[in-house]
């Protein structure tokens, strides 16, 4: 075994992958939420559709999107491997456990939270990403150039109460996942310092609340604005 594979198959190496992919996904989420804020512009989706085209055609963004796909897959695969290792480390469990005394619920349930988020992700990508790439999307023309009208797909999707509710609930899970994952990734990378760690923790808390709220507000906004 070379030193690379040896490292990546150690518990710490696997954690390193979890942390790096996790942090990259946090970066991705930041970009994703910022871009999607264009939904609030109230211009009938023009800015949003232009942005969507840019995101699917720009070569640099494309490259980044591949990194994102790899990160998602890596994050999932390594979490499965680690969960298996962790489960096998305690073949006989405790009859009585009072774990809430010493750790947060989110931190103990990252796997479950992650699984729910993954299910959401599949539905989400099916609804929009797949449609955008291979689905039948109507075209609109701005300044003589043709664009796929993703905005109409989005507004149509969020006419459905169930869809909106599902998105809001999924964002709650994302929030819990991030509330532990954000600072945890820094800890795993060994980026712990008494000067900066408290700031990272505060930032993590803000991020884990703000980003999911912004995401969740989009379907709600669309649901109410397109109803009226």
């Amino acid at each position: 075994m070379s030193w690379v594979t040896k490292t990546l198959s150690s518990t710490l190496g696997r954690k390193l992958i979890m942390a790096l992919t996790g942090l990259f996904l946090i970066l991705f989420l930041t970009g994703h939420v910022s871009g999607n804020l264009l939904l609030f512009k109230g211009d009938g989706g023009e800015a949003f559709n232009i942005y969507a085209k840019f995101m699917t055609t720009n070569p640099a963004v494309k490259l980044l999107s591949y990194v994102t796909y790899i990160s998602v897959i890596g994050h999932v695969i390594y979490s499965i491997i680690l969960t298996q290792v962790n489960k096998s480390s305690r073949p006989v469990g405790y009859a009585k456990s009072n774990a809430s005394k010493s750790s947060s619920t989110a931190s103990r349930n990252m796997g479950i939270l992650g699984t729910i988020i993954l299910i959401f992700l599949v539905i989400h990508m099916q609804s929009f990403w797949y449609q955008m790439h291979w689905g039948e999307v109507p075209f609109v023309t701005y300044d003589g150039e043709q664009y796929k009208d993703l905005f109409s797909i989005v507004t149509f999707a969020f006419q459905n109460e169930l869809m909106v509710a599902g998105y809001v609930v999924a964002m709650a899970f994302l929030s819990f996942h991030l509330s532990h994952g954000f600072a945890s990734a820094f800890q795993t990378l060994g980026l712990n310092h008494k000067k900066y760690t408290p700031a990272i923790e505060v930032l993590g808390r803000i991020y884990s609340i703000l980003v999911p709220i912004l995401f969740a507000s989009m379907p709600i906004y669309i649901y109410f604005t397109s109803q009226s």
Binding site: W3, T11, L12, V85, S88, S102, S103, R108, T188
Partner: protein
């Protein structure tokens, strides 16, 4: 005080084991938890029943021999060792569940006694400075900043009881391993071998079958000596920088 004890009984490593329930009476609030078990055992012996086996030695909170998972927490409700836990922390009539540490790397030997030799093997993998007796420089030859010495000391106070493993949902030994790696990585004497030490100790930790860390923080919150999570971060740093820069292939 009158109590009901629900205790894990297991004759030996190959026995399946199960819970047995014992009532105890006449328990004083001044007793330590282990003294309460002494009372139970004296009673069991008089009745001709096999006493409950549990590990204990110094009974002053420093040897790390006592263990016990009490009512869902290692060393019970307080952040201390079981020998320093007193019955005033419980109320009359309470049912107390007592289990052994649970981890693949800590197999049960009998009743509440587990085998923690995995910890010894982690230390043997590199938890030392390779100096022979004699021929060392004067103790004051290398000044060490007080803050560094104090921080190294804090890491070095680990008593090796295994509460971190017992508390962790993944039965991870990262807090234990990181405490030793940290202590030696901070001191100039330990810096010489820091890379190889980190690589070897972590390899051994994995080989023993401990789980990975998910940063829940339960280990530090339950550690009777208050070993900090910063040690785990330091260990991770040590390891990552070691694997990319050491000469070990």
């Amino acid at each position: 005080m009158k109590l009901t004890l629900k205790i894990w009984r297991q004759k030996n490593a190959s026995d399946k084991g199960g819970f047995a329930t014992y009532p105890v009476d006449g328990i004083s609030t001044d007793m330590s938890f282990l003294e309460m078990l002494d009372v139970l055992n004296e009673g069991l012996t008089e009745k001709g029943e096999d006493p409950v086996h549990f590990d204990h030695d110094c009974r002053e909170g420093i040897c790390g021999m006592c263990s016990l998972y009490i009512n869902g927490n290692p060393h019970g409700p307080l952040q201390t060792t079981t020998c320093q836990l007193h019955m005033r922390s419980f109320s009359d009539g309470e049912t107390i569940t007592i289990e052994p540490w649970r981890a693949k790397a800590f197999p049960v030997v009998k009743d509440l006694v587990v085998n923690r030799s995995a910890f010894d093997r982690i230390i043997q993998a590199g938890g030392y400075v390779s100096v022979n007796t004699g021929g060392v420089p004067d103790a004051n030859e290398i000044p060490i900043p007080k803050t560094i010495a104090d921080e190294a000391f804090d890491a070095a106070t680990c008593i090796g009881c295994g509460a971190c493993v017992a508390a962790c949902k993944n039965a991870s030994a990262m807090l234990f391993t990181s405490a030793k790696i940290s202590q030696l990585a901070m001191l100039p004497q330990g810096k010489v071998e820091r890379k190889t030490r980190a690589e070897k100790m972590i390899a051994q930790m994995d080989a023993e079958g401990f789980g990975a860390c998910t940063n829940t923080g339960a280990c530090a919150a339950e550690c009777p000596k208050g070993i900090s999570l910063t040690n785990i971060a330091r260990m991770n740093r040590e390891y990552f920088s070691a694997v990319v820069s050491s000469d070990n292939m």
